[in-house]
């Protein structure tokens, strides 16, 4: 079973704060992490490999420092990792990114049985690259997967549970397929000491636009239909931050009054 996992390095947004003076994002000292949803993607690939055998290939597109997230993937047990990085990718929106990642999968992994992505990245929050990759690869997509119920390699089929707004949809799909996974699917393992050592020493191949045979008109800013006109801080919440002070028998009815006045409670 050949599995490709797509991961992204993102800022750990716990640390992202707004500078009250300049009203901009303070990035100093913000740590970079593997996108949390992608950790579930890597873990699910490892679990499938344990059950069905095969190889886990992990791909990340990003700047050179994104190599760190690939080292983490190696440390937990990925067979092969690849960084795809090129100045020519700069300014890529989700269409150009999906094209680049799909080209990379074809170039380095070849015919895959399964592609696994996180449901979305926590910096951009688009959830568009997974479906984009599936479309580019011409394989079906199963988004928001919370459980793999069955994989049948002979019959080339997979049955999964998708976590939707009103419940769980059980879907059967042909293989190869692309899954995007939610947090509920597993609990990612920690790397072993041996794994960390191995990852530290590993040479991680870096692929350029040329290496993956990308069409220069379909990558980076050139291959992106959308562009960011303006970036700004959200308006501060109108929340007056009114702390109701006093004894509870007085404060509780006061809060209830305020909430009843809103007419939202029926």
């Amino acid at each position: 079973m050949k599995i490709a996992v797509c991961i992204k390095q993102v800022p750990d947004t716990t640390d992202v704060k707004i500078d009250p003076k300049t009203n901009t994002l303070v990035r100093e000292g913000v740590a970079s992490i593997t996108n949390p949803f992608d950790e579930y993607a890597v873990e699910e690939a490892l679990l499938i490999r344990e059950k069905h055998g095969g190889e886990v290939h992990v791909i990340s597109m990003g700047p050179p420092q994104a190599i760190e997230v690939l080292k983490n993937a190696l440390a937990v047990g990925a067979d092969k990792v690849y960084l795809v990085s090129d100045r020519a990718f700069a300014g890529a929106d989700t269409l150009a990114t999906a094209y680049t990642v799909a080209k990379t999968i074809k170039a380095v992994v070849g015919d895959v049985d399964l592609v696994i992505c996180g449901k979305q990245a926590i910096d951009g929050d688009t959830a568009q690259v997974g479906p984009g990759i599936a479309t580019r690869l011409g394989i079906p997509q199963l988004t928001y997967v919370s459980k793999i119920k069955e994989i049948n390699l002979e019959k080339k089929k997979i049955v999964v549970e998708r976590l939707l707004e009103y419940g769980r949809e059980v879907v059967e799909s042909s293989l190869p397929a692309l899954l995007t996974v939610v947090k509920d699917i597993n609990e990612p393992r920690l790397p072993s000491l041996l794994g960390i050592k191995k990852a530290a020493k590993a040479q991680i191949p870096t692929l350029t636009a040329k290496d993956i045979g990308a069409d220069e008109n379909r990558i980076g800013l050139k291959g992106s239909p959308t562009w960011v006109m303006r970036v700004f801080s959200p308006e501060a919440r109108g929340g007056s931050g009114e702390i109701l002070k006093g004894e509870l028998p007085e404060v509780v009815p006061l809060l209830v009054n305020k909430l009843m006045d809103t007419k939202f409670i029926k």
């Binding site: 992202v16 901009t24 994002l25 100093e28 929050d125 997974g130 199963l142 960011v228 919440r237 209830v256």
Partner: protein, 401 residues
């Protein structure tokens, strides 16, 4: 390739551009600002530079399509379990404004079996659609990516809308990503603001990023059409319904057979909750402070009195006190109720990312220093196990329940 140019002679080394960069791509080198490959050419630094030392050189794209052939604003009418998603009506309301600003028609795009299509096309018209493009048949009975994407791609290629809007629901996001990739159009995710540029008549799409810490306004280059967006539910108001409105229904046939559809829905397991987080007007949420699974009892009791859904922070889910589908926040769901009551939730940035656009936030926490109080409309510093049952009692009294 686009370039961000920093004029070495003009740059005074004031460093004001460095924190302005949302992507951390700027740094100081020998007293002047330098840019690295993390730059996405967003232009945030260009505006902030007090001496105009930074310029953005964007490559002009060769216009390869005739955008005057693209007309009208389309809204995808999504439905599930025999009901149109309310976000679709909200989008018809907002789409009306966009269509009026451009001077074009507002249209619906609807797929389903014959019965649903007949019923929902009328509803779309009642909420403002002038035309509804429909495809019907057993393959389209429930949403599945393959037949829906095929239907939408064929319609969009034939009728060339200039704007297509989808709800940013699980269905809308699964669907729009596939359609946009197939037709190679721009797609902006999870928008909270839509506006027509008065001069160019292009769509300006505003959305939160970085867990809501920054907002970005996004536009499509004029050589890509249609302009497509998924839009967050409950951001726009429901438009008035008028069943006397008349509209045109345009029927097309799906060119696909069941054996070409690669997925099959085996079953649907309805969630155990009667009130769902996605729809709830009121949410009562519990966090680390509830202390265990039984700690959700007072939370549930308050929710029941208020007709509210039960939410939780990540801490409570990770501790195994409540299932994941209740999790609000960055790795859970994003919600936007009228009232969000946070009980024993400290209010980490990740939790805030999922709920801070709620109209009214109530915080109940023992720790007066908890960050949740900074974004709360009203707060009570106190033990949730005392405060929440008192609230329940008081509401019961007032509501006569």
């Amino acid at each position: 390739m686009a370039k961000l140019l920093i004029d070495k002679d003009t740059c005074t080394g004031c460093e004001s551009c460095i924190p302005a960069c949302p992507f951390g791509a700027l740094s100081m080198k020998e007293g002047i600002a330098v840019v690295d490959e993390k730059c996405t050419f967003c232009g945030a630094c260009v505006d902030i530079c007090p001496v105009s030392a930074i310029t953005l050189e964007k490559e002009e794209k060769a216009v390869t399509i005739d955008i005057t052939t693209y007309k009208d604003v389309w809204v995808f009418i999504e439905h599930e379990f025999g009901k149109v998603g309310s976000v679709s009506f909200e989008l018809l309301g907002e789409g009306r404004k966009l269509a009026d600003a451009i001077g074009c028609k507002l249209c619906g795009m609807l797929f389903g079996d014959q019965e649903t299509v007949d019923k929902f096309a009328k509803e779309a018209i009642a909420y403002g659609a002038e035309k509804v493009y429909v495809m019907e048949g057993p393959l389209l009975k429930e949403y599945r990516t393959d037949p829906y994407a095929k239907a939408a791609v064929d319609l969009i290629r034939k009728y060339k809308p200039e704007i297509v809007l989808f709800g940013a629901t699980t269905q809308g996001r699964d669907f729009a990503g596939t359609v946009a990739t197939t037709i190679e159009a721009g797609l902006t995710a999870d928008c909270t603001g839509l506006e027509i540029d008065p001069e160019t008549k292009y769509l300006k799409q505003t959305r939160p990023a970085f867990g809501g810490n920054i907002m970005a306004t996004i536009q499509d280059y004029p050589n890509y059409r249609p302009q497509m967006s998924t839009v967050r539910p409950k951001v726009f108001a429901m438009p008035p319904r008028d069943d006397s409105r008349k509209g045109e229904i345009i029927r097309e046939t799906l060119q696909m057979t069941e054996d070409q559809v690669r997925t099959k829905i085996v079953e649907f397991i309805r969630g155990a909750e009667t009130i769902n987080l996605a729809d709830a007007e009121i949410i009562v949420s519990g966090g680390r402070g509830v202390g265990g699974p039984e700690g959700f009892k007072p939370i549930r009791e308050l929710a029941e009195v208020l007709g509210a859904a039960v939410g939780s922070s990540r801490a409570a889910v990770d501790s195994g006190w409540i299932p994941y589908e209740h999790q609000v926040g960055q790795t859970g769901r994003t919600v936007r109720p009228k009232i969000y009551i946070a009980c024993g939730i400290s209010g980490s940035i990740q939790h805030q990312a999922g709920m801070k656009t709620s109209d009214i936030i109530v915080a109940i926490n023992k720790d007066a220093e908890a960050p949740i109080f900074k974004i709360a409309t009203y707060g009570i510093v106190g033990d949730l196990f005392t405060v929440v049952p008192m609230l329940t009692q008081e509401f019961k009294k007032r509501l006569g329940r």
